[in-house]
Amino acid sequence: MTSELDIFVGNTTLIDEDMYRLWLDGYLVTNAVALRVRSGILEQMGSTAAVLQSDTMDRYRTFHMLERLLHAPPKLLHQLIFQILPSRQALLIERYYAFDEAFVREVLGKKLSKGTKKDLDDISTITGITLKSCRRQFDNFKRVFKVVEEMRGSLVDNIQQHFLLSDQLARDYAAIVFFANNRFETGKKKLQYLSFGDFAFSAELMIQNWTLGAVDSQMDDMHMDLDKEFLQDLKELKLLVADKDLLDLHKSLVCTALWGKLGVFSEMKANFKNLSRGLVNVATKLTHNKDVRDLFRRAVLPKSVFSVCPLPRWLPTPGPLGPLHGHPPWLPPAPLS
């Protein structure tokens, strides 16, 4: 007696969170069944392994059918085939687009191309994440990238609109897309200590302040490309180091702005000249694409400063930075025109 066909279709599509996770993590049916058996679910329900096998197959099939819709989440909301509770829809989308920290660190800043996709086997071995899961995450990055690449307006908003992600996840994706687009180098050894969160934070600030969209919100353009003109203008910052008066003025402005907001304020104040010089050095060389890509490696170069504490951690939240024209203090301020 062999089962040829075995299906269960509910009027409301039931989503089992644990099963969904197993599926997302790329477990094969057999592995998933084994895992579930170990979880003791059979004893609870007095069921048999065959029941579990059938249930797992069925759920996997459902997820597989949903996957097509998950590639364009607004479709999931409008489709009529599966009646899914809104909370479950949200869960499906959010989990599908969630990614592993270890994985994202490996591909952050890399071109989302076929070439990188070929390296996924290696990444899978390094990170211990199943190849299937790696592929899904990579395809997610790529899909989001493709959709928002040519779009106007805020990157985060675009991602939210087209993928219905939660705010946090959308911002993470914005960072991933931004990094992929500008191909910032993040894989170097000296950058290993930085988490994805650190980069995402930097990305957010850069998107807000360094891109074309940031300068003029009315301008129809992308939030993904850095404002070339701005990078050119950064050359002018040499003055901040060369001119003693300007250096002092800068220092006092920064200190006023950051006073009380920084745990390492005194160190910063003491080392201001070094810091400033280091940063200005980085800033003035951002004219070539290659240098831009190297930004992070070079930004953490001045050991004297950054070895004290990791780079973005002591940054204040972007807020009352009036004197700096909205620019983060750890990066060169905008030209004081």
Partner: protein
Amino acid sequence: MPGKLKVKIVAGRHLPVMDRASDLTDAFVEVKFGNTTFKTDVYLKSLNPQWNSEWFKFEVDDEDLQDEPLQITVLDHDTYSANDAIGKVYIDIDPLLYSEAATVISGWFPIYDTIHGIRGEINVVVKVDLFNDLNRFRQSSCGVKFFCTTSIPKCYRAVIIHGFVEELVVNEDPEYQWIDRIRTPRASNEARQRLISLMSGELQRKIGLKVLEMRGNAVVGYLQCFDLEGESGLVVRAIGTACTLDKLSSPAAFLPACNSPSKEMKEIPFNEDPNPNTHSSGPSTPLKNQTYSFSPSKSYSRQSSSSDTDLSLTPKTGMGSGSAGKEGGPFKALLRQQTQSALEQREFPFFTLTAFPPGFLVHVGGVVSARSVKLLDRIHNPAFVGIMGNTRSYKLLDWNSFNSDEPETRDAWWAEIRQEIKSHAKALGCHAVVGYSESTSICEEVCILSASGTAAVLNPRFLQDGTVEGCLEQRLEENLPTRCGFCHIPYDELNMPFPAHLTYCYNCRKQKVPDVLFTTIDLPTDATVIGKGCLIQARLCRLKKKAQAEANATAISNLLPFMEYEVHTQLMNKLKLKGMNALFGLRIQITVGENMLMGLASATGVYLAALPTPGGIQIAGKTPNDGSYEQHISHMQKKINDTIAKNKELYEINPPEISEEIIGSPIPEPRQRSRLLRSQSESSDEVTELDLSHGKKDAFVLEIDDTDAMEDVHSLLTDVPPPSGFYSCNTEIMPGINNWTSEIQMFTSVRVIRLSSLNLTNQALNKNFNDLCENLLKSLYFKLRSMIPCCLCHVNFTVSLPEDELIQVTVTAVAITFDKNQALQTTKTHVEKSLQRASTDNEELLQFPLELCSDSLPSHPLPPAKEHLESASSNSGIPAAQRATSVDYSSFADRCSSWIELIKLKAQTIRRGSIKTTVTVEKASPVGDGNFRNRSAPPCANSTVGVVKMTPLSFIPGAKITKYLGIINMFFIRETTSLREEGGVSGFLHAFIAEVFAMVRAHVAALGGNAVVSYIMKQCVFMENPNKNQAQCLINVSGDAVVFVRESDLEVVSTQQPTANCQSSCTEGEVTT
């Protein structure tokens, strides 16, 4: 009388890419009705075209309106080659033809293609203007309402129940026409879909005409089936019960009179219920009944009890209901005579209903069934040539019936079977058959026709014309038989049709009752049940030699009696094992295959308080001298006794102890084991009676004389009870559970197993089949474990044998959660609860997060407000216990849905991440709040609501059905030539069933409804050819589209009515739009 059909094509969305080069589609739409076709403009290069067409107007006869479906085809325009079809939508416009059903069909319909499945959606608006309002439906049967529900629909009152209506239409199956060899599978499938749609339209119209002839206005319990007879054609047949229904107008009026079942059920188990307004509170003995009448012209005649009232008020009717105490004998005879005359003019006194108005059912005799084996021949169709080539096909169909000088073969077959059923019922002393149904099983050219029902004595009051008086309600109360009345035997105890074991009724002690009762109906709402019920199944396979034609038919008809006998024995044994004494909703299905016959009987076992306690099962060995054998037997005996004890505990069966003296000694009659009268034959009318009498008085003896019997006993013990927290039944509601919560989940599960052809013995086959069913149930319990405590209701198993070694089992059921803690809550607390509800007007909103309401539609700025409301309501001092169920669950739902919503509402101004976003949340809430309250106080009144509930039951727990929108009857074919690519057979069928559900929901939503009740999947024919990478499946579903309103909302409305009239009226207004 003509009408004008108006159709507008608004837009499409999610269309498939038809042009590979541009990744876009140039779509346009053809709208066809009858012979007229309109086209929209081509909307270039878009997957979401906005046609916004003018109104296409069709001027047509109402006959066409009834028969024809509206056919909408979406195509991709191609300049150089033929336009490619994307898919079709068939819309049945019948619901628009009744005065009080839907007024407009408007919504998104899935575009369906028989090869590719659903391909995007199309937004359509359909209206019908019928001319000449005054004489609207005289000439046709347009006005007749159809209900699949097998009880009187909830918002109607039965004035008269006229009786049985049936019709069948025959046609050639397009799949077997010569033209099928040259056309594409798609064309062939579409021809079939269209033909069946036409035929069911015609059938419905014809039945409607019959109803009008009987002067009824509705068909209840409408059951339409297809017989795919292959070469010999396609039969569409339908049966139903004609009724005259009255709409109960104001909700206030019907609230107390006709409570929803969930409430009614609450009252049943409590004899001493102080509730004054329902039937269940009637006096418990017939003698009391006599003194309880307040009709004006009452005369205490010697002869009868409550029937006096009837006599005086309606001389024509004569007799009322009743268990007439000591005068039982003569009275009964008279009663029979009277009702018989009422039923005599009917050819077949059959009723497809399974639940009845109080007082309708007087006595129940037992199950009657008949089967007959027929050889299919080419159906005689003189006027029938190449019908699909002819667009006026329905005209041809009409000729077809005109031309029937030749006796309609199928009609004759069914008439024969019905006649047999009728005579069986007579033999049981009954003049009517209730819970009647018909079915077929076809394999190659052999066809088994089956019919079954429950013989019963009915109260003639509902059956006659001119008996409608204002005081019906009043009389109702008087005439109510006692709650044990239906158990009393209708036949003469001295002249019994078969050996039976009778005792005095354990409830009233006046009348005789049998020891077990088998019925095909639902448990009457006023019956007293002890403990809970459970699903009982008998499963059986029998091998059969492969044979041709006559030989095959003979072989089958020889096997049938044995199968019936065994199925019946199994049912009886299992019933005893559960410690119960009655079966309801019995459905025996015999399926014929190439080399085997399958029997599957499902029923719900209960312990009726009126019937005697069932004896145990005793095992007797044949060889008493063998010591080890004896030991084995006693071991088995012990096991059986343990199981019975365990089951009694599990189902809470603890009847009050009654000593023999009070009851009087049992009548010394041979034991009756079978109340199942049946016969099967090709031509004869012989009635095979089962006499399984054993000498032993109160134990049921199983003799183990060979290994077969041993197997049987083993199989009895292998049935595992459902895991704790689960119950299952195949009736509408589970006896003994009455506190349903509103969460329901309808599902369909299909399994096909392949038997290894090597070990095909009867035993192995039985074991395989048994395992298949048991595993399927286990899977269901496992899948639905998150709903515990819950009950699987209306579990409907269908078996088919698509190929030699394949067995297919299809299950459709609904899981309903119930509240364990409140299991024994009385009406008192219920009243309290409703008061509490009234005091906190927010409370009604608690329920909605469980619904998938408009959250899923981005255009509705409602959900963000919910969170707010939710918190508001949870602050407002509602007792924690009441909140517990919904709030916990919903808070998460809210959070998620609100941010999804938010994303879409969010203006471009948000640019700076989290700070601003959260601000928006807070801002949005209070604003939305105001809108929300005003706009959708009754949450489901909003017709754009995304969620459509589906249930095989006739009601929705915790909700009241306010409007029936019409019948849903849909037939789909799906075919694939890339089975592997679609995920194999499982993937293919899974997707198809999901699509069918989606199309049903879309149609209901377009009618303005929010649920389908009495949903049934009547057919699921699956064929595969893995070698060719092909599969095909046909599915036929039906149900009633309805609008429901949560009971909690209604209560709020009704309690507030004095002060806030306008509010209630506007609630209604919204509901009915």
